[in-house]
Homo-oligomer: 192 residues x 2
DNA sequence: GTTGAAGTATACTGATCGGTATAGTCGCAA
DNA sequence: TTGCGACTATACCGATCAGTATACTTCAAC
């Protein structure tokens, strides 16, 4: 817990950016939350944009590590891991601080595709999808890319749905759908 | 096309709010785009918040009407309509002005559930889901609510995915997944 | 021909935005 | 003891934010 000042600022910024939104959070609010001054903030981050990018990169790193660890702790086989993903998502959604996906939110706040914030957000989902694709491949899907994209649509949809309205059972339904899609993708003959 | 001043302001605001984001769009920019003055804007809208709510309500009304019309133009039976939804979404995503779902974006910009903007956005998806539920019921789904929720997760996921990265085939995969989920929900014995 | 409503033009308010300048405090190392 | 880098304190900058006050034009109804 011994954070240096730069980490303390980033930690404070992360909390505010995620819970209130990026544009809604002023530099002064970050400074106050980190118990420091603007001068120090601008010593470590050249601009607010720079701080935002740092927030997203760290969130990317932390979230993916946490997520994979959670999944691995719940399941051993690739197929079980694919399903465990939905349990992890479900538990994540249940925490009161849940405010949707930081990357989806950031992309919504900075809609232009060329924007650096938008790009960093897009990278997260690229890597997240790669993770699911690899699991799909390992468990013998006929088309790992298709299955992975389909499952990631369910996940993103569930996150957004839960963000719009809490406790609507999105994660559970996403898992039920995932079970069907996984089985369909594993059998040689499509189930329809 | 003969818009009165209030409609002109709302039209200009809608374009800017959707393409650039709500917080990123100042009142002055709306005024300039509508070729009017602040005084007139504040005659018809008591505050920027009021204008934002009006934007979302009109978008709700217009989009749902347009969407249902598009679906009805593509299919006759309830089952065909469920699938046509994904074609409409796909075509919508292809237009260059596409910037994701205005309601998802608004909810991301105003993350607190109690916020009026957030609430209006949530209402849209409630009604959208009701529409899908009704179609699911009409085509004999064993559990219309479940199927509708699952399909809406695919739709929301596809929209978000396309917003993050254009032309990644999200809509097509969503439709493929939908076909499987619909068949599974129509058969008496789950296909797994 | 007058009145009144609709809309324009423009200057303004106070607050907040991101970012900077200057001076001072603090602890540690040579 | 001196010097130095990390950090603080505070006041400031110009720009922009949402919102208002005042005066003016335009035009149609009576």
């Amino acid at each position: 817990m011994s954070l240096n000042l730069k980490e303390k600022i980033l930690y404070a910024a992360s909390g505010l950016f995620y819970s209130q939104g990026i544009r809604a959070t002023g530099v002064d609010a970050v400074v106050k939350a980190a118990n420091t001054t603007k001068m120090s903030l601008y010593k470590y981050f050249s601009s607010k944009d720079d701080l935002v990018i740092a927030f997203l990169r760290k969130r990317d790193e932390d979230f993916r590590a946490w997520f994979v660890e959670q999944v691995n702790g719940k399941a051993d086989t690739p197929k079980a891991k694919l399903l465990a993903i939905f349990d992890v998502i479900s538990e994540w959604m249940a925490i009161p601080e849940f405010r949707g996906c930081a990357f989806i939110n950031a992309a919504a706040e900075f809609p232009l595709e060329g924007n650096p914030v938008h790009q960093v957000s897009a990278e997260f989902y690229d890597q997240f999808r790669s993770y699911i694709t690899e699991l799909s491949r390992q468990c013998g899907s006929r088309s790992p890319e298709s299955l992975a994209l389909q499952l990631s649509l369910l996940i993103e949809g569930a996150i957004v749905s839960e963000q719009m309205k809490r406790h609507s059972g999105a994660a559970e339904q996403a898992k039920q759908a995932a079970i069907i899609l996984i089985e369909a993708s594993l059998s040689d003959i499509p189930c329809m």
